[in-house]
Symmetry: C2
Subunit: 250 residues, 2 copies
DNA sequence: TATTCCGATAGTGAC
DNA sequence: GTCACTATCGGAATGAG
């Protein structure tokens, strides 16, 4: 019935090459340092994983996406080895990351519109025009349609698993074969995800000293309808597929 | 590597017929009442499960044996619906059960000798005579050999899962494909198993009011060498196979 | 707090 | 406390040549 979940793997990018790209650092390579290879030499990855890069950032598709669209923004700075809360104490870096995040959010929103706009009530007029099903005055600006950007989840984990600074940007659907454990869900649907817009954090922001475990032991709550699934992860997963279908139609 | 455990099933004895033999009682049939069918009409079971029966007892092979030999003694009395601790407050029944248990133990011990005597150091001389490898004076009594009876586990569970009174008699090896959960092990290797010889229990015997759960949460201890396997049930299972081989050689 | 693999643990239903 | 089935929960290793 349910197909065996595929292990994400991209052309020319087996795990071995992740390590070998680090050359002399191979001996100290750890799974949690895997993102460093992208900021070190993004051009070394010929597959579709790197979305774009410039002097200061690399944007990649998450290797284990937890939603239908899930990308990471990687700042190319020595500060990236710090915990995000510490790194973002640097106002210059924070401003830079927030600006680049805004750009990447726009890109992701465009991708959502491309994928799901045809199902969306809010995008209907815009889609009809684009499809030539509705007349539109030449040169007149298209209706803006659905604001996909405002629905995105954007932020850093309070206790990241990967050592290099990375900002998550993802659709809210949580529909993915890589969504396998309850922690995958809670890490994006509790205060364990700290919105990039919330920085700089106040000195007394409770998220600075999270009881990390607590967030992950919370009941599983549907992000869209609020239904409580307690610890029934599989039932939540099935529900998320249904919510995804409805969400696209908004 | 490891074959899929087989589901015990005997010829002409599917579960449905267990129920149907109870006729009008079918509607109230519960899994936990399955043993009642044997005392009700032991002749209705043509397979090898019934070892013998008489007016007062039925001896059967356990459908889910937890050792290489594992039989049950079922008293044919209305008292069999009582908890064993209460049923054995009846001195007449207790004496009767203890006497029949002694007979069945002898039968089981004979079966162990038949199966494993050829491997046993204590049975070596006896086996050699029986095989004609050693001269023996005609009419002279054979050496008695190993006392297999004294190694048997014999008793009732402090909280039986089947509602009809049954006395377990089994080899100590705990080697069986039906030994699948840690509770299967602890139920025969802690005070949760109350020896039939210990009845009548003293009024203040602590086993009368067992913290049932406690016995099943104990560490897993090898019955033969005393090694502690904590909660590593699979490792214990592998170890039990090795101990079984050594035990046969005693 | 990543992944995967394996195994221990827990809840359900059986008629 | 039986069984079997499913799913949840938990620890350990993970690279490299």
């Amino acid at each position: 019935m349910s197909p065996k979940p595929k292990i994400p793997k991209e052309e020319g990018e087996p795990k071995k090459s992740l390590a070998s790209t680090r050359g002399a650092l191979t001996r100290s390579f750890k799974e949690r340092d895997g993102l460093g290879a992208y900021t070190h030499d993004p051009a070394a990855f010929p597959g579709s994983r790197v979305i774009y890069y410039n002097d200061d950032f690399v944007a990649i598709n998450d290797l284990y996406p937890k939603s239908t669209v899930h990308v990471l923004l990687l700042p190319r700075t020595p500060l990236s080895r710090l915990h995000p809360f510490d790194a973002f104490d640097n106002p210059s870096l924070l401003a830079s990351v927030q600006a680049e995040t805004a750009k990447l959010k726009h890109l992701v929103a465009t991708e959502l519109q491309r994928r799901y706009g045809r199902f969306s009530a809010q995008d209907r007029e815009r889609e009809a025009i684009l499809n030539g099903e509705k007349e539109w005055e030449a040169g007149k600006e298209l209706p803006v349609g659905r604001d996909w950007e405002k629905e995105l989840l954007v932020g850093v984990h309070a206790h990241p698993s990967m050592n290099d600074l990375h900002v998550h940007i993802l659709a809210p659907d949580m529909v993915s074969e890589c969504m396998r454990h309850r922690k995958h869900y809670t890490s994006f649907n509790t205060p364990f995800l700290v919105d990039i817009a919330d920085f700089p954090l106040a000195k007394d922001d409770p998220r600075r000293h999270p009881r990390n475990a607590e967030y992950h032991q919370r009941d599983l709550i549907c992000w869209r309808c609020g239904k409580n699934f307690l610890n029934k992860f599989k039932q939540l997963k099935e529900h998320l597929v249904e919510e995804f279908e409805e969400w696209k139609k908004e």
